[in-house]
Every structure is written in C-alpha cells, then in structure tokens.
C-alpha cells in the first residue's frame, strides 16, 4: 500500500465512528454518501456525464479551440464534418462544434436556474400544506392541482409566448409548470414525518412552525426532491429544447441545442449533422441525468432511515 500518509489519515478521519466535531460528522456523512454513489453503476455513469457537461460548460472558451459559435462563414455553409469544422457548419456557416460546446452553457444555465426556483417553491408549498393540514392544505393543494392539470409543454408554451422570447422567460415559464410535483412530494413526506416522535419532541421544546419546517422537516424531504429533480432534468432540457425549437426561449444568435435542432430540421436529409449533433448532445445529457437520478434513488432508498 503506497498511498501517501495524509490520504490514509484523511480517510480515517472521515470514517471515524467517534467524530470530535460537527464538521467531522457532517463530512463523514457526506463521504459515506459519496462512496455509496460511486459504487452504484448507474449513479456513477450519470455523474460522469453530468460532470463532463459541467466541465464543458465551464471550460467552453478553452475547449472550443478557437471555433467561435458566432462567426459566420457563408462561403462554407452546411459544410460536412472535416478537419477544420469537426462537426460541420450550419446554415449560416457557423461551426457546429463550437456552437454545441457553448450550447452546453445555455443548457446548464437553464437546468440550474429552474432547479433553484422550483425546489424551494415546491418545498415551501408542500411542507406548509403537509404540516398545517386543514384549510391551508386544501387551498395549497388545489392551487397545485390547477397547475398540474395542464400539459407541461403546452403550459410552458403559453407562458413563454405571453412573456416573450428569451432564456430568462423560458426559465420562468418552465419553472411555473415544473414545481407542482415537488409540492406533492413534499406534502406527502411532511404528513408522514410530522407524526414522528422527534417532531413532537421539538414541538415540546417550543419551536415555532417555520423553524420546525425549515430545520427539521425540509432536510428529510430533500432526498426525494433531489431524486425527482435529477429525473426531471431530462424533461426540463427537452422542454427548453422544445421551446427553442419553436422559437421561444433562446434567441439567435445564441447557441442553444433545441434551437439548433430546429434550424437543422429543414436540411436534415442532406446535411444530417446540423440537427443530429445537437440532438445527440441533448440525448446524452438527458440520459446522464436520468441515470444519476436512478442511482441516487437507489442510494437514498435502501439507507435505513431508522
């Protein structure tokens, strides 16, 4: 075993069964979670793909190797993949490779923004409804039902059309349609958790309802919400792509994978690479999130929540 001494020491510190500080306990827990994820094949593959996506998005300028997503070269429009343009060029002569690389940023932005909006809203609505019950529960859940009654893409379309084109509006439109399932999940979990003795204990200590919800109940709902989010990501990307496809969402000349597929639709028979390459990118990223979600669910579920 030629592992450096510091690594052995760190691992021992993380796996200690007698943590000496809160930080050590939390880090140890995260470490165990990470190990569980890394040993789950689905989660690992998903994590690698997503990691790759994040890497590409962050290092886009470097990875583009000088291929700008915006430079037009009308003399070489719709050129097939070759040594200069690795994935060919689109209808305006722009390099597809560069556009796909920069498109990762747009995709990642949309996915992160939607998550950041949808999870807190869903959790807030769901935990209040589940904990307080009664009239609050009824009102909140009926509002949720109203949003749920519409088909996602149609509702997103309606909002996007009403708000106007652009990525920010697309994010808002998608968020408005994506939050209800999280409220439902949070409410169901909260209703069960609220009956637990440890919640009664905290009530007996005099904790206020917001404190109980935020500090004690939300952490327990998080795993379900995270799993659902990762599984939803694929749908969010596809909705964004759909909006882009329809001309809402990202506007030209921004490189967005959905918009790229849309533009390449007209020449798909002869110049297949224009639509196919961004399409493959959408597929791979959706698959990555799906796998990660499946793996996370396996990791969170069998964990004995004793």
């Amino acid at each position: 075993m030629s592992a450096p001494a510091e690594n052995l020491g760190l691992r021992h510190w993380l796996e200690s069964d007698a943590p000496a500080s809160r930080r050590q306990a939390v880090m140890g827990n995260l470490w165990r979670g990470l190990l569980a994820i890394l040993t789950n094949p689905a989660a690992l593959v998903g994590l690698i793909i997503i990691g790759f996506l994040i890497f590409v998005a962050m290092a886009a300028p470097l990875l583009a190797f000088g291929h700008s997503p915006y430079d037009q070269d009308l003399a070489h429009r719709l050129a097939p993949p070759d040594a200069v343009h690795w994935f060919g060029t689109d209808e305006l002569g722009r390099d597809i490779y560069g556009r796909v690389i920069y498109g990762a940023r747009v995709t990642l932005t949309i996915v992160v923004l939607v998550s950041v909006v949808v999870a807190p809203i869903g959790l807030a609505v769901g935990t209040f409804a589940g904990f307080l019950g009664g009239a609050v529960d009824v009102v909140l859940m009926r509002i949720t039902d109203i949003f749920l009654a519409f088909p996602r893409l149609v509702l997103a379309l309606a909002f996007a059309a009403a708000l106007g084109p652009g990525i920010e509006n697309a994010v808002i439109a998608i968020s408005l349609t994506a939050w209800p399932p999280y409220a439902r999940i949070a409410r169901a979990e909260t209703a069960t958790i609220a009956k637990s003795d440890f919640i009664s204990a905290v009530r007996l200590q005099g904790a206020s309802t917001p404190r109980i919800l935020l500090k004690h109940i939300v952490p327990l709902c998080l795993s379900s919400v995270i799993v659902r989010l990762t599984l939803d990501m694929a749908g969010i990307i596809l909705t964004a792509a759909g909006l882009g496809f329809l001309g809402l969402g990202a506007q030209p000349p921004t490189a967005e994978w959905g918009a790229m597929v849309s533009a390449g639709r007209e020449v798909i028979l002869d110049q297949w690479w224009v639509a196919t390459v961004p399409g493959i990118a959408i597929f791979i990223v959706s698959l990555g999130f799906n796998l990660l979600g499946d793996g996370l669910r396996d990791v969170f579920d069998p964990k004995a929540s004793s």
Partner: protein
C-alpha cells in the same frame, strides 16, 4: 401544599371511522412534588394518551389540568414548555435521523435561548452515561440503549420540574432496560424531578414509582401505593389479574 401535577376529569376523544371514541374517560389523579407516579395498563387502556394530553400534544377536555400550580390548556407558550418534557417509547423514532447527538441536545437550548450550550451539552451527556465519542454521532450509529440515553438527556437538558416517560424501556433488551431504569432512578434522586411513568410492565412501574394508577378501557380502575401492590393488597379484580399475569405462566395442575 398543592400538588405538582393535578388532573381532574380528563377526557380525550378520538374519531375512529367517523364515530367518536373515548380514549380517556374522566380520569383524575394528583402527583406530589418529587414523586414518580406510575400508570399501568394494557394496550388501548389510554395510558399513553393521558401522557400526551398532559404534554399538550393532543387536544383534550378537562375539569382541570394544573402543572406546578398553573392551569394549562392544550396551547402552551414557549416559557410554559420548560415546565414539562417527554421521553418517548421508541428509541428509533424519537431522534431526528439527520441530526447528531449534539444537534439534538443543542436544539432545545437554542429554541429557549439559553446560553453556554457547549458546556450544558457536555454535562448532559455525562449525566446520562454517554461519552464524548458519542457526541457527534448520528442515531444510526448508536445502539437502542444509547439512543434512549440521548432522549433522556434531551428531556432533562432544559431542567424541567416535570418529566413524562412513555414506556421508556419497552423497546429495549432486558439488560439494557436495567441500565436505563438504574439511570432514571439515579437522575430522579439527583434532581428531584416529578415524573409520570407509563408502562404495561407492572414490575418496571413498581421498581420506580411510589404510586400506581391502573387503567382499563380509558377508565381509571384504582390507584394504589407500590407497597400495597407488592404485598397483593389490591382491591379490584382486574388489578389482581394483572398482578397474576405478571408473575409468569402458572401451570395448571
């Protein structure tokens, strides 16, 4: 001298399948300061329900419910919460799975705004026989007996004058039960807490309590002193049945 806990005509009604059901039907008793009062009964007798009502965890009606001389209803103010604490039956369900022992003990101090949390927590841990190495563990890293110790520490950290114990050892192995019962006896002696202990086990109740109330079907059957119970000076046939049953199986001749 007023009792520490006065319960007069306590009634708790649940709705089951659309119909009202009296879980506790007009129960009255009083507990003196420093005393440990036992409530014994079989399942469905209402013994745990009485405890939950006194703690204000469920709605109830009563002629009178007084804690430390103060009349209380179901709604309790934050300062009133310091009067009374609770130890639950299931050591596996009474601790938050994502919080360390330190978190669990710190929370009541934070909620009540008490200072010097670190020292208080360290003292609470040693009072219940836990070591420093347990302080930052999560519940799943503790045994049943250790979790129950944490639950007891958590209940006592606010130094309540009243402690309610709901079958605190029923889910534990016999040897662990002995340790916890010894701990409870020692803590009672050191702090002079007034307690109500609920159990289905007569021997456990007799071990810790001075008086025992027998419950059946929501009604109070009788209240007797522990010496009377041990000597068999019981008045009601049901109590006699319970005593006989607790002595094990009698082979028919």
């Amino acid at each position: 001298m007023a009792s520490m806990i006065t319960v007069e005509d306590l009634r708790v009604t649940f709705t089951s399948a659309g119909r009202p059901f009296r879980a506790v039907d007009g129960v009255s008793f009083a507990v003196e300061k420093g005393e440990t009062f036992g409530i014994v009964g079989e399942s469905g007798s209402g013994k745990s329900t009485i405890l939950k009502a006194i703690a204000g965890l469920i709605p109830f009606e009563a002629g009178k419910l007084e804690l430390a001389g103060e009349r209380v209803t179901e709604a309790r103010s934050r300062p009133q919460r310091r009067l009374l604490q609770y130890v639950f039956q299931d050591p596996y369900g009474s601790l938050h799975p994502r919080q360390t022992v330190d978190d669990a003990l710190r929370e009541p101090l934070l909620v009540q705004g008490l200072p010097r949390a670190d020292e208080t927590i360290a003292a609470a841990l040693s009072d219940v026989g836990l070591e420093l190495k347990h302080r930052f563990r999560y519940p799943h890293q503790l045994s049943g007996g250790q979790r129950q110790r944490v639950a007891i520490a958590r209940a006592l950290i606010l130094e309540p004058p009243i402690l309610l114990l709901d079958e605190p050892t029923s889910a534990l192995d016999v040897s662990v039960q002995a340790e916890i019962l010894n701990l409870l006896a020692a803590l009672r002696k050191a702090r002079g807490t007034t307690s109500i202990l609920v159990s289905h086990d007569l021997a456990v109740v007799a071990h810790l309590c001075e008086h025992v109330a027998v419950m059946r079907g929501g009604k109070l059957v009788e209240i007797l002193s522990t010496p009377a119970l041990r000597e068999g000076r019981v008045q009601r046939p049901y109590t006699r049945q319970l005593v006989a049953a607790s002595e094990g199986y009698a082979q028919q001749s």
